[in-house]
Symmetry: C2
Subunit: 220 residues, 2 copies
DNA sequence: GGTTTAGATGAAGGAAGCTTCATGTTAGGA
DNA sequence: TCCTAACATGAAGCTTCCTTCATCTAAACC
């Protein structure tokens, strides 16, 4: 019943009453809002607290320091995207590869772009104190889900699903970054989405062809 | 003869004597070294200057502030990679697509991984004050070179070269990030390199097929 | 209604590090 | 050789914020 959305580094009070749980939530929300409004350079703990309708002291009752606060906000965002990916990966088990790719890409891009500006702002933050490890950890879980899905396909596929997963994740991450960092993400969204599906689809089809002719001279 | 590798935001002294040009160079070198040694959190202007065998004052004679220093270091790194890409793109004009892809990917990954740890460290920095714009600007120039190369292919290709370029850049950036952020980049380098070539090759081949059958019902 | 515990407050302490500038040093020309 | 301008120095000022903690308020329980 009691959640612990705060730091794993230093112990802090856990919310037990309703009002404090609300505070924690408001503070995390405010963190993202402040990030969007003033940028990470001008984000101060005081400002976040005020934006959340609380005081600095309250903030420090639930987050041991500024870094933990930002990490919690990042983790929250990534888990949303991860959940979307894991859901599709379960839904698509046993389906043909091209359908998997399409569903996966649609779900991923949609989740990522849903709150696009937050994504960008949080990425900027993630380069601070081991934000990379959080991103990596989430990416790993997503990768497991994707690889498991691929392994269950009805198509015949001998290429290592982990390797295919790496390529797909790299391409998806690359395209989403490109979209998010472009001046007008919505403008290119659908073109990029469709082309990425085509991109991944071509690759997966080629992987199947590669499997069915295992002794083909490997070019390059 | 005289270079101006420093800030574009606030004016600063330009090196005119040999010793000062050497200082500027040493400072930029030291910036990357300090970044690698202590991380961006502990990177201070004083530390960078000392590492370069100079004093803080000297540093501030050529860089208006810490941010400009980091930007200059980032720009320097990106130009190396850009130069490698532009070179291959010129070399490969008129060649078949699959050969272009292979050459491009090899050149890009090699340039990127050559000083891999620096890449990672500088990326972390790039999220500070408009480091994104520097990355984007370089990416744009690389994109132009790639698109021009693609447009010159001997294969028949009707798909928009810009769109293909976006996909290729996204995939390359994604894979290189994945490599750089992995625990042991060298271990996976060759596997990823070859698979990326296959990935891109499949896509380009499919693009040609798509061109030659223009009235095919567009799926998805 | 009184006691206890959870939660909230925000002024002030303190550390860190960017940046300046007054002063010293070196190179190049006359 | 002397003068001038370029260059180098690094202690100290100054700003910015993170973080604490003594104090206050609100809720829960008996």
């Amino acid at each position: 019943m009691i959640q612990s959305p705060q730091s794993h580094l230093k112990p802090r009070k856990q919310p037990v009453q309703a009002r404090s749980a609300a505070s924690v939530d408001a503070i995390l929300e405010a963190t993202v809002q402040v990030l969007l409004e003033v940028g990470k350079e001008r984000l101060t703990t005081t400002r976040v607290a005020l934006r959340a309708g609380a005081s600095v002291g309250t903030l420090y009752q639930y987050f041991p320091n500024k870094s933990a606060l930002l990490q919690a906000a990042l983790r929250r965002h990534l888990e949303d995207v991860l959940a979307a990916v894991e859901r599709v990966c379960l839904e698509q088990r046993g389906k043909p590869l091209h359908q998997m790719a399409e569903a996966l890409i649609n779900a991923f891009l949609q989740a990522k772009m849903k709150d696009g500006r937050s994504s960008v702002a949080l990425y900027a933050v993630s380069s601070d104190l081991d934000g990379a490890s959080i991103t990596q950890q989430t990416g790993l879980r997503a990768g497991n889900a994707i690889a498991a899905m691929l392994a269950s396909t009805s198509d015949s596929l001998t290429t290592d699903p982990q390797l295919i997963t790496s390529m797909l994740q790299a391409a998806m991450a690359g395209v989403s970054r490109r979209l998010l960092e472009s001046e007008n993400p919505k403008k290119h969204f659908d073109v990029f989405r469709k082309e990425l599906i085509f991109f991944a689809g071509s690759y997966l089809a080629a992987c199947v062809a590669r499997s069915s002719q295992p002794v083909l001279s490997r070019q390059s």
